[in-house]
Amino acid sequence: MNDIWAGIEAAFWLIVTLDGDLIDITLRSLQVSVTALVIASCIALPLGTWLAIRRFRYRRATIATLNALMGLPPVVVGLIVYLLLSRSGPFGVLGLLFTPTAMIIAQVIIITPLIASITHQAMRELWAEYHDLLISLNTTKRQRVATLIWDGRRTLLTASLAGFGRAIGEVGAIMIVGGNIDNATRVLTTAIALETGKGDFALALGLGFVLIALALAVNFAIHALSRTEQEGRW
């Protein structure tokens, strides 16, 4: 119990004094996770929608694979990305290992199936509702996808937020491909792991509370900006 109080106190002082390291780590966490989220959303939202409306031979197998990929172990993703980006790997010449870019790549791989799968479920229901109307209006496939994404944007926002939640809280993969280098690739989750290892539970908990507050703040901000809870708005 003392550790928890000490953690709350540490978090309070870190925030009140605008601790330089905390701000640096927090901004890097946001930069990596938001960039990964934007890239993953650009891939996953159209992909999930396309899967909802398109009939093709291996559709069921594709959807089953996508759902299975939601449970990808981050450590394994980190290991594979590490091998691909290491000097002896196929992309070693790019020199991306132990950089924020490598962390973003790993996070994109982890959260894309999650966002695509939730998108597919939501769009399948909307497509069932709109199917006859959009067919009767002679819409093109591109127009159908655009209409579904626009009209289902609030559900898609939830899918993206789920992706953000997974990305911001991820530690295994980014520890492997980022290396937890001070002032370079250290983010909130890897810093928490480091401080726990060092036995500084108060600081680790303090960083943990900051991480929770950050995740909540981003969710509230997005809901406020998109006005999801306002009556009478579409």
Binding site: L126, Y130, D132, L137, D151, G232, W234
Partner: protein, 238 residues
């Protein structure tokens, strides 16, 4: 208002679903002008016939011949469903949607949307979410959204089912206006009174087959088959 008229012809048309024949074989011609009412009991194949004519459902056998290239004709057709499908958008955006799909300039869209909102009496509800309208309002909006592109052919699948008298009258007025402006209308209904009020010609379907068809006056005054006679008398026909 309406450009090239369209004729539709079905020859030996058959529709099967999961091995069961639900329509046909039927031969039907729909000339470029007119107000056709497709009558028949539940399960007669009315909706299937309408979907076949509109091209949203495929024939298992036979052919549908259109008087112009398929793509051109489809762009000038519209369909109103028995249960109106509302986009999760405002009334204004629902009306604008079909015009946006074909790249209509924004000022033209704004003008037409305002005009149609007045015609259906929803001018004060332009920014209300369409799915929250009443049943009658939804159906009027669905009809206006279908007519806003000035179609050559308008298909309606029992548009007044479960509507009250006032809403039915308003929808019939909109349909008669569209018809007099040159839109060819093909509509299914259970309602014999509505058939008498609107039809220029009638197709009577029973168990997926055409049991009678011809000018409305002749059909209602002297049906040619016993099934059609029974249906007009209000008997249960199977």
């Amino acid at each position: 208002m309406v450009t090239q008229p369209t004729t539709l012809s079905l020859k030996n048309a058959v529709v099967r679903r999961r091995g069961k024949q639900i329509l046909g074989p039927i031969d039907l011609n729909f000339p470029a002008k007119g107000f056709s009412i497709v009558l028949g009991p539940n399960g007669a194949g009315k909706t299937t016939l309408l979907k076949i004519l509109h091209g949203v459902e495929r024939l298992s056998e036979g052919s549908l011949t259109l008087s112009a290239p398929d793509k051109e004709v489809r762009q000038k057709q519209a369909y109103v469903f028995q249960t109106p499908i509302m986009l999760r958008r405002s009334v204004r955006q629902n009306l604008a949607y079909p015009l946006e799909l074909i790249g209509t300039p924004k000022p033209v869209i704004a003008e037409k949307v305002t005009d149609w909102a007045h015609r259906i009496g929803l001018q004060d509800a332009m920014d209300r979410p369409a799915p929250r309208l009443s049943g009658g309002e939804k159906q009027k909006l669905a009809l206006a959204r279908a007519l806003i592109r000035e179609p050559n052919v308008l298909f309606l699948d029992e548009p007044c089912a479960s509507l009250d008298g006032k809403s039915t009258r308003e929808i019939e007025a909109l349909l008669l206006n569209a018809h007099s402006a040159g839109t060819r209308i093909i509509m299914t209904t259970h309602d014999l009174g509505q058939g008498r009020r609107l039809a220029s010609d009638v197709v009577f379907l029973l168990n997926g087959k055409v049991h009678d068809s011809g000018p409305a006056v002749e059909f209602f005054s002297g049906p040619r088959t016993s099934a059609a006679k029974a249906f007009l008398n209000g008997d249960i026909v199977e």
